[in-house]
């Protein structure tokens, strides 16, 4: 039986007191426990940033790679071991900024993974520059007069890309977040959850309060309705919907590789001496 304490990493975090990363970690640990998973059945791929330190603070297999590159290494894991529960996790800067090209193309690949974005609408670790999701009303040491570009709406982008599962959640609602994580794991294919995660040190606008006043839980929305999803994805103002915005069942990356079946390539047995036939083509 899975137990919550299995996931406890015996380490002090480098997060600030009050940071939204703590409730996110709690929700994640609880969701994993409730899904009856054990640490060795899960691998987490992260980039660099405050969010990306997660594999040091929760006990699962972890590949804490390069800034912006949390997604690509997960491709390798899904080929090696399809049974592994793969979580890609990182900040908004890492996932949508430096890593933009990978999210663009991995939505297309539709790997069976869960992608959790800690969206604090700021670069935390590097001390408060604008991230792609930073809003117009924030000025920073670099964005001295506000941002030079339109804020990125990851949910609208992902729906426009017809990602197979697009959700939004908020660390201030732990039950909701857990529900989303569970749904993401249940979903076959790429599942993006953009998670509002207040940064108490650098984002003085998008606070717990700010989100609480705006988020509302979706009811009676049919996530398979693309046009409805497009409309909801565009709501980012006084009211912001949380929940599963869009969902479509379609072939996963592995499904599209016809000869792969359910094989775990990590178990592939190779006998050099059986490959004589490879030489014959060069006769």
């Amino acid at each position: 039986m899975a137990e919550l304490k299995n996931f406890e990493a015996d380490r002090e975090t480098a997060w600030c007191p009050g940071c939204g990363n703590f409730p996110l970690r709690t929700a994640l640990s609880e969701a994993l426990t409730e899904m009856d998973l054990n640490p060795e059945q899960i691998t987490m791929f992260t980039g660099i940033g405050q969010a990306a330190k997660m594999p040091h603070y929760i006990k699962v297999n972890g590949f804490n790679g390069l800034h912006g590159r949390s997604l690509p290494p997960a491709v390798g894991m899904k080929l090696a071991n399809p049974e592994m529960t793969v979580i890609v996790e990182s900040g908004d800067g890492c996932s949508y900024g430096e890593g933009g090209n990978h999210i663009l193309h991995n939505i297309r690949r539709n790997l069976d993974i869960i992608h959790l974005v800690h969206d604090n609408q700021i670069y935390g670790l590097t001390k408060g520059q604008a991230s792609p999701t930073t809003g117009y009303d924030i000025k920073t040491d670099v964005q001295t007069h506000g941002i030079n570009a339109e804020p990125f709406n990851p949910v609208r982008f992902a729906v426009g890309m017809k990602a197979s599962f697009v959700a939004r959640s908020f660390v201030g609602d732990r039950e909701h977040l857990k529900e989303m994580i569970k749904a993401a794991r249940q979903h076959r294919g790429y599942a993006l959850i953009d998670i509002f995660q207040p940064c108490v040190s650098f984002n003085k606008v998008n606070t717990y309060q700010w989100y609480k006043e705006r988020v509302y839980k979706l009811k009676d929305h049919d996530p398979s309705d693309y046009e409805a999803a497009v409309r909801l994805a565009d709501e980012f103002g006084d009211k912001i919907p949380i929940g599963i915005i869009y969902k479509e069942e379609k072939p996963t990356f592995r499904d599209r590789i016809p000869f792969l079946g359910d094989r775990a390539l990590v178990n592939r047995k190779v006998e050099v001496q059986d490959m004589e036939y490879l030489l014959d083509e060069f006769k």
Partner: protein, 557 residues
Amino acid sequence: MDLNILIGGEAGQGLKTVESLLTKTFSRYGYYLFSSKDYMSRIRGGHNFMQVRISDEKIDGPDPGIDLLLALNEETVEIHRDDVNEDGIIISSSGEEEDDIVKIDAASMAEEINPKAVNTVFVGTALKVLGLPITEAEKVLEEHFADKKSVIEDNKKLLKKGYEAGKQLFNLKDLGTKKDRMVIDGNSAVGLGAALAGVSFYAAYPMSPSTGILNYLAGKQEELGIVVEQAEDEIAAINMVLGGSYSGMRSMTGTSGGGLALMAEGVGLAGITETPVVIADVQRPGPATGLPTRTGQGDLLFAVNISQDEFPLMVLAPKDQEDAVYQTFRAFDIAEKYQIPVIILSNQFLADASKTIDRINLDDLKIERYFVDEDQVEEEYKRYKYTADGISPRAYPGQLKGQIVLTDSDEHDELGHIVEDGEKRNMMVKKRAKKLQKLKDNDLCEPDYYGSDKPEYIFVGWGSTAGPIAEARKMLSDEFKVAQLAFGDVWPLPEKTIREKAENGAELIFVESNASSQFARLVRSETGIKADYSIVKYDGRPFSGREIYRRFKEEVK
């Protein structure tokens, strides 16, 4: 016996088919082959050519002289006529029939039968001119067009027509098929080496001249049960294969210089996370886009010093197509044994040239994976455990019951957790450095040494210049006491042999396809040994033995 055939024409005219039919035929008649390509960066038009050299002995490289010129268009005659040897012959569709020109009206022959197969006429005429029979060529045709059965007959007819239109001017013999040989190009050789080593995941972004590796492995995915994935960019490619390797699969990527530049940070990630990975850099001239379809050796110091700060890595440069198979196999072994990135420095010359080599001996090839045994793991598995030789027990996620595997791009402790203190940093830097030392002590290949025992001159080269240098050495050996040091492993640098040889007073001549003689600079930096001369070339074309011979005469003696 040594004969050079140049096949020239526009991109899109099907030179490759002509070359393929001819070389297969020669090979079955028992000839050794060396066939290299000179391509423009375009799909149609322009001027491309291939040089096929055949001999009854092993051949090491191309030769600029032409015995038989197969001109698929008029421009080819104009461009190459001056390089035709004194008793050389031209086969052409245009111009007048002259003493040295065999004129065939290929177009009209093909018109009635199949205009698309016009090139086959040239193959037929060439065989006749050379004095070889047509029978093997017919079989080769059948195999070549096995997918398009409908055109086999047309091609056979045109082969015959071409044959009949020619006249015998050379006197080649059927030497009998040799079963213990292969003809292979450098890209396929790297691909084959990887396949034999058990690569399960290859991810890459297309880039000339490395795409052949991708194509070779992609063509084998289904039968080997492996996955070849085209990444969205080179950054994704390297990070994908690192994820694959972390997950327990032998994984590889390949690219050319520009792509390697994009992978630089990822190579450092492999270094600090101690994730094995094999990376083929098929060099072309740069910087930036440079000459995309040409050859060079300009990436040496970049590869050796790739990425910020320091970490153990190995760089090796296969010397020819045969070596490329074995070295690629070895690269996987070293990568996993030492848990380091290994860069294979190939180049367009090696990659695109086909050579007759001895059949690969699979008995010599053993795969070892070096994963930790479950029963040797302590209570809490430590991915980066300090050990005497710096090599920590490697496991992949899911391998060890009840254990997790944590790997980190930040400096870390034995468990893989982020650390910031100076002592732990020092320990980890030292741990990684020990691996390089062990590699140097145990697994480095010293360069091959050939030629005079007491040489006046030693040619020093690395990678694919080995063949052309060998030819030049042989050509010079009547006049001088010359020798050759052919390096395959270039980083860490094997120092023993060159130190010994340098002490004996011979003059060292470095031969390299880059502007600043990078290998000479590397050797000097590591050993203090200074080049007496450097013969460098950076025009994007390969060295030939003749050119090295000539430049030796001009620049050295």
